[in-house]
């Protein structure tokens, strides 16, 4: 393997030239790669704003059916940018633009798969939990270690982790700051699948492609409904599902899907 030595100033230049999030699209799947490799993809304000912006436009872009968010082999994202955080005072935090960025990321309407290798900690874990599900490599590690720095999860960690892994494990993870490996994350329910590191991204992309070729109206309604499931009481949730079901059933794509199934052909959806 060729080793390329890059000085810090050159890295800063590269970072200015390149985007903090690299965008690539194929087969209705938009892949967003977090790109601050020398900082283990620490999520600074600029990166979060860029990511949120890309998701906002992807929401409006009919050629995007699903999104994959990924990092590199070493880190999905090792956390927030601690150096940047250290420089912020209470007023800065009050008008912190990251709040809106996180809200936009969390409210994204299309399916998102997080393809995780390496560190997925703090803000990185919170970002991965914003995805609909996570596929991780064997050597990935997950955790909310904020408590070790005298702070706390601030981008949904206390709310989302507890919904995914249940109170016992979530409390232990957040109070001790301990990290768990991919296998433990799988059995805790934090992630959907563990696989070889080299194959994580393409698995996520293949599944995203599969999802992106289903009827967008049905997919969006399913995502919307299961998101409600965590907030609504069962009877309300069932009523919500019923209403969504009727809406989906009135779509053209519903007729197309059923007709294609009955006639053993591939459906052609029109997002109508």
């Amino acid at each position: 393997m060729i080793q390329i030595k890059i000085t810090t100033s050159e890295i800063t230049m590269l970072e200015d030239l390149n985007n903090l999030v690299i965008r690539s699209q194929a087969d209705r799947v938009l892949t967003l790669t977090l790109n601050r490799p020398h900082a283990l993809n620490a999520l600074n304000t600029a990166l979060l704003m860029e990511l949120a912006g890309l998701l906002r436009s992807a929401d409006k872009d009919d050629t995007v059916g699903a999104v994959v968010i990924t990092g590199n082999q070493k880190a999905f994202a090792a956390g927030a940018d601690v150096k940047e955080m250290a420089s912020m005072n209470a007023t800065d935090l009050h008008r912190d633009p990251r709040v809106q960025a996180w809200a936009d990321i969390g409210r994204f309407k299309k399916p998102v798969i997080a393809a995780v290798n390496g560190f997925c900690l703090g803000g990185g874990c919170e970002l991965a939990m914003c995805a609909d599900y996570i596929i991780a490599g064997h050597q990935a590690s997950f955790g909310q270690p904020e408590v070790k720095l005298g702070i706390m999860p601030g981008a949904g960690g206390t709310q989302r982790l507890i919904r995914l892994v249940g109170p016992a494990k979530a409390r232990q993870m957040m109070l001790t700051g301990a990290t768990i490996n991919a296998k433990q994350a799988l059995s805790a329910g934090l992630i959907a699948e563990v696989t070889a590191a080299e194959i994580v991204l393409e698995k996520a992309q293949a599944q995203a492609k599969q999802i992106a070729h289903y009827a967008p109206i049905a997919v969006a309604a399913i995502k919307d409904c299961y998101n409600q499931a965590l907030d609504l009481e069962l009877q309300q949730g069932l009523a919500y599902e019923r209403r969504s079901y009727c809406v989906v059933s009135s779509s053209e794509d519903r007729n197309e899907g059923i007709d294609a199934f009955l006639n053993k052909r591939h459906p052609v959806y029109k997002n109508r």
Binding site: M1, H138, Q139, T195, A196, E198, I199
Partner: protein
């Protein structure tokens, strides 16, 4: 001072020699730290395609150096869990997750953690005069360095329990017979043989060998269905390697393949 761990990287083989022969290569803190740093060096060196671990002198490794463990009543019991977390567990995880074959040449007695470090390696070859002892029970301790996990998987639960509770000395020949290790070689040919084996492995398609190791290790806690998925994924990866292309071409052209390990 003599180095307690000798690391020699040559022609794709990284040979680690445990080198405290005066105390049967037993571990003190310094040697534990040196072994960990040797493993780290190896994982960062892309030229390394096979690891060979052996011991200098008449023993392979007698485990923890107990003179480091003198009981002093005033200071309360020592935290052995801490030593495991800091050193031995990292060594075992390191050996198991290294994406290349790790050969262990057990040149003499392998006792306690010394035995279990050997058993954590991928291919274990012992000299005829070598032996394996799960000595922990004699001191009221539990087999560590992966012993309780590895032993039942290698020799079955019945033997694992008896060996762990009796602390029997198992000869190299018996160890081979019960499936604990791969092979036994006469003392005089032993070192030459294991070094040749390591050199051979280092010329092989080692990326593929790394995938074999991962698949087999994963199989230990997978059901068949999951494992078939693992094989599908790893075969997909293996077929993308340069070495696969090199191997197929060499086979079709009836030439000798020169693999690159990627």
């Amino acid at each position: 001072m003599e180095q307690s761990i000798i690391l020699d990287i040559n022609k794709g083989v990284a040979q680690i020699t445990l080198n405290r022969p005066q105390s049967l290569n037993s571990f003190n803190t310094e040697m534990q730290e040196s072994l960990l740093s040797a493993l780290k060096t190896i994982t960062r060196d892309d030229s390394v395609r096979c690891v060979l671990i052996t011991g200098n002198g008449r023993g392979f490794c007698a485990g923890q150096d107990l003179s480091d463990r003198q009981q002093d009543d005033s200071s309360g019991p020592p935290d052995l869990g801490d030593t495991l977390e800091k050193y031995y567990n990292k060594v075992i995880r390191g050996i198991q997750t290294m994406d290349m074959p790790v050969v262990c040449a057990v040149n003499g007695v392998a006792a306690g953690a010394g035995a279990n470090i050997a058993l954590a390696c991928d291919i274990v070859i012992a000299a005829e005069s070598a032996s394996f002892i799960q000595a922990f029970c004699r001191l009221g301790l539990v087999p560590d360095a992966g012993g309780t996990w590895m032993l039942p998987r290698l020799v079955g639960m019945a033997k694992a329990k008896a060996l762990s509770m009796l602390g029997d000395k198992v000869s190299a020949t018996d160890a081979e017979r019960m499936g604990m290790i791969y092979a036994v070689k006469p003392d005089d040919e032993f070192l030459h043989h294991t070094q040749e084996l390591a050199r051979h492995l280092a010329t092989q398609p080692t990326y593929g060998l790394g995938l074999i190791k991962r698949a087999l290790n994963e199989s230990l806690d997978n059901d068949l269905d999951t494992q078939l998925d693992v094989e599908r994924d790893y075969q997909r990866l293996a077929a993308r390697s340069e070495d696969y292309k090199i191997g197929v071409n060499a086979f079709l052209n009836k030439t000798k393949p020169v693999f690159k390990g990627r």
